[in-house]
């Protein structure tokens, strides 16, 4: 549309748009969006990261509140309920998560479980002949809580009377007649309170015509029903009695045994152990991350701001520290100071000794990028001190990167801690302290027989690592839009 094409546009066609008043810039109708508001807007769009953040929140809630609300505390142990299977009171009504396990057993074992009252279902029975001998096999469901069966326990007379009173009051049965051990076929089974039935030398029970087991109890003329209910120990100061452990547990703890995640090798409740371990791991990693954030920022800021020889020397120090393999560092500190400042103290020290280096190097790079820019020069000309320039002018530019580095440090600390305690270099196992790695390490010995003990800690740590990585990546994209899509 140049002049040549429209040679004769009359002048009066041109009118001023605005003649009445002066023109001003219009006020912004919209609200200003700050750096973090902007980042939040970007973060929200990344669905994966939002879900991950939500999962992290759930895991934190789990770690913080489970120890408060759980039925058993973390130092709870039960010597009979070792490796019992996960059971949920609610879900067991639908036949899942019920603490039962399928087994194929021979006649002897079948009789034993029947005596324990542990068989919840018989799915199949079949005969098979091996080397001319015919054996019967059963496919059964065994309740791991009832498979403990009957046990002998020692009580003081007052405890015994209290339990007897409880029996009367509630109409439940706690005590069962003692077994006539002389008729138990195998020597090693004489201490086992479950062989209360008549059986032959191979352990196969003899049965009544209606199929019930024939009891084999110790008799006592003094007793009302002619059976013996206790034997005296320690010159009569203690009674040895025979109880059905499921009911006895219910009597002792006021509720039927039910461990949502099962129990481990020492009879600890896995649920509360896991929550406490998770709480420890999370707390450790947050503390480490915070300390490293502080040290790294200060160190990196000084390096980057002053530069020159100081930078060179400080970088070399960081280089040397950084080259020490982490195993060497951790094991040395554990060996040297593990006793004096405690295992956790030495662990913290090891994390802090090298962890800040990555933060420092990101801060340093950011300082190199921004310190020569005009606005910094302007601030300096106006008389801003070094401290002000560092803290108010340059550091805010690096904040996004630093925050991301700190968030991503959390999973790496959890990972390192769990590896070390798994290897046994770090010994965090006690009745009041545990970590996820320790639980994995303890459970690994029974991986093939009791996989549930390893399942929950493994699931927890996997979920934790995945969601922290997703969350960290989302946060990085949101806080540093220029780095979007770049990996690491």
């Amino acid at each position: 549309m140049n002049k040549q094409e429209f040679p004769d546009l009359p002048k009066e066609k041109f009118v001023f748009v605005q003649q009445a008043e002066n023109i001003h810039d219009a006020r912004f109708e919209t609200k200003a969006v700050g750096y973090f508001g902007d980042a939040w807007g970007r973060f929200k769009k990344n669905k994966g990261s939002v879900v991950a953040a939500f999962i992290i929140l759930l895991l934190i809630i789990f770690a913080v509140f489970t120890p408060i609300f759980s039925t058993y505390d973390m130092s709870f142990t039960d010597s009979y309920y070792v490796y019992v299977l996960p059971k949920s009171n609610f879900l067991s009504r639908f036949g899942i998560w019920d603490g039962c396990t399928g087994k194929t057993v021979n006649q002897q074992t079948y009789d034993y479980y029947e005596a324990c009252d542990a068989i919840t279902a018989v799915k199949d029975s079949y005969e098979s002949t091996v080397n001319g001998r015919t054996n019967t096999y059963y496919d059964i469901e065994v309740d791991s809580y009832r498979a403990v069966g009957y046990v002998y326990i020692n009580l003081t007379p007052s405890e015994y009377e209290a339990a007897r009173a409880y029996e009367e009051e509630n109409g439940v049965r706690l005590f069962y007649p003692m077994v006539n051990t002389s008729k138990v076929a195998q020597e090693m089974n004489r201490d086992n309170a479950n062989f209360w039935y008549e059986h032959n030398a191979k352990g196969v029970a003899s049965r009544e015509a209606d199929g019930t087991l024939i009891p084999n109890f110790k008799t006592d003329d003094q007793s009302a029903d002619g059976l013996s209910y206790y034997s005296l120990k320690m010159n009569g100061k203690q009674y040895q009695v025979r109880v059905y452990y499921y009911d006895w547990f219910t009597y002792l703890h006021g509720r039927a045994p039910c461990f949502l995640f099962g129990t481990d090798n020492l009879g600890h409740d896995i649920l509360s152990r896991l929550a406490s371990g998770a709480r420890f791991s999370l707390m450790l990693s947050v503390i480490v991350s915070a300390i490293n954030f502080l040290i790294g920022t200060v160190y990196g800021a000084i390096e980057g701001y002053y530069g020159g020889k100081l930078d060179l020397v400080m970088e070399r120090i960081a280089d040397v520290l950084y080259s020490i393999p982490y195993m060497v560092m951790f094991s040395l500190l554990q060996l040297r100071w593990g006793k004096e400042i405690g295992v956790v103290g030495a662990l913290l020290l090891a994390f802090v000794l090298t962890g800040w280096i990555s933060v420092a190097s990101t801060v340093r790079t950011q300082f190199y990028r921004f310190k020569g820019q005009e606005y910094v020069l302007a601030a300096r000309t106006l008389g801003a001190s070094d401290a002000r320039l560092i803290a108010r002018c340059i550091l805010p530019n690096a904040l996004g990167t630093i925050i991301t580095a700190c968030i991503l440090m959390v999973p790496s600390v959890i990972f390192t801690e769990s590896s070390l305690s798994y290897l046994g270099v770090l010994n965090l196992d006690s009745s009041t302290l545990t970590s996820v790695g320790t639980m994995l390490s303890n459970a690994q010995t029974a991986l093939s027989t009791y996989p549930h003990a390893i399942l929950f800690p493994a699931l927890f740590i996997s979920l934790m690592m995945i969601s922290f990585n997703l969350f960290g990546n989302g946060l990085r994209d949101a806080l540093n839009p220029t780095l979007r899509g770049a990996e690491e």
Binding site: I324, P325, I454, M465
Partner: protein, 324 residues
């Protein structure tokens, strides 16, 4: 080329300095630990005292260090095993004896993971934003985040125990090519490879997607190259610049055993030796293996830096400010 040689020399000297500093720190800290030698009573205690004297444990730490350095540099004597392995075997021969198992497992893991990682990474980049790419991205996320020992449990339980396809622990013996040995190494190799495959896949995918959208690719297509030709000859070669160093460093890392995987599968390698030297307080062995790991990780860094120049001639190794 001359600057290259001086640069390498400079780096090696620097590396040796760092090694020396770390060794000094380790030595001093270890010698400050209590219970250098097992204690006992009667004749045994006297023997231990004599041994302490003979090995110079009663001297000041600095003197001990000088003695130690002299032995290391003149006779390559790093001390003897006291708790791990056979009593009084030289530490160096104990390590040499443990290395083959580690190398065997790591080499297999490398052979498996490098081609797979490259292949899947390239595939994901070519199918960018299609469902194949999304699936691969999820797999990458899973395998990178979840610790390797978790897969180790999973494969050990399902493939080793439930299905019984492979032995749960590595076969004993030193014949690393016998069929039983190979079969028993499948599970550890698998659990070691997942992480490497995933990180390789991620790097290849990220690099290749970037090069595929660059201007020279457009030029190549405009010249009349097919998509296949352009990808293979231009994009792939350029995207390999940051990938190759990753792969090359794998060759160095073959020597360093994975501590956890070796423990889980009972591999008698350098990693499990290291762990047992810590747990059983075998200090000479601990120091030697620590230095072994330090040297390897430093060497890997060095190799990565040098290989950038080998892979991409545009990058001048050791170039100054003006990239001369």
């Amino acid at each position: 080329m001359k600057s290259m040689a001086t640069y390498i020399l400079k780096r090696i000297v620097l590396m040796l300095c760092v090694c020396f500093i770390i060794m000094t720190i380790c030595f001093v800290m270890i010698r400050m630990l209590p219970d250098q030698l097992p204690r006992g009573s009667g004749d045994y205690a006297a023997a231990v005292l004599a041994m302490r004297k003979a090995w110079g444990y009663d001297e000041p730490i600095l003197t001990q260090y000088i003695i130690f350095l002299k032995k290391v540099f003149t006779e390559w004597d790093w001390g003897v095993c006291t708790k791990v392995g056979t009593y009084l075997t030289p530490v160096t021969s104990h390590i040499a004896q443990k290395l083959p198992a580690t190398i065997a497992v790591n080499a297999w893991s490398m052979v498996v993971s490098i081609p797979l990682g490259l292949l899947f990474g390239i595939y994901a980049a070519l199918k960018k934003n299609k469902w194949q790419d999304h699936v691969i991205s999820v797999v990458i996320m899973l395998f990178i985040s979840v610790p390797a020992y978790i897969y180790a449990f999973v494969v050990q339980y399902f493939l080793g125990f439930k299905l019984g396809w492979f032995p749960i622990v590595v076969a004993s013996g030193t014949n690393y090519f016998s069929p039983e040995m190979l079969k028993s190494m499948v599970l550890p190799v698998m659990s070691m490879s997942f992480g490497t495959i995933a990180s390789l896949m991620r790097a290849v995918r990220a690099e290749l997607t970037e090069t595929l959208t660059s201007d020279y690719m457009l030029l190549a297509r405009t010249k009349g190259l097919t998509r296949r030709q352009a990808t293979l000859r231009h994009a792939l070669r350029n995207s390999m610049v940051p990938i190759m160093p990753m792969i090359i460093s794998q060759f160095v890392m073959v020597l360093s055993g994975s501590l956890i995987i070796e423990k889980i599968f009972g591999i008698p390698g350098i990693g499990s030796t290291y762990v047992s030297s810590i747990l059983e307080r075998d200090y000479s062995l601990f120091l030697a293996v620590s230095m072994f790991y330090t040297v390897i990780s430093l060497a890997a860094t060095l190799v990565i830096d040098l290989s950038y120049g080998l892979v991409d001639p545009r990058i001048r190794i050791g170039g100054g400010k003006n990239n001369e």
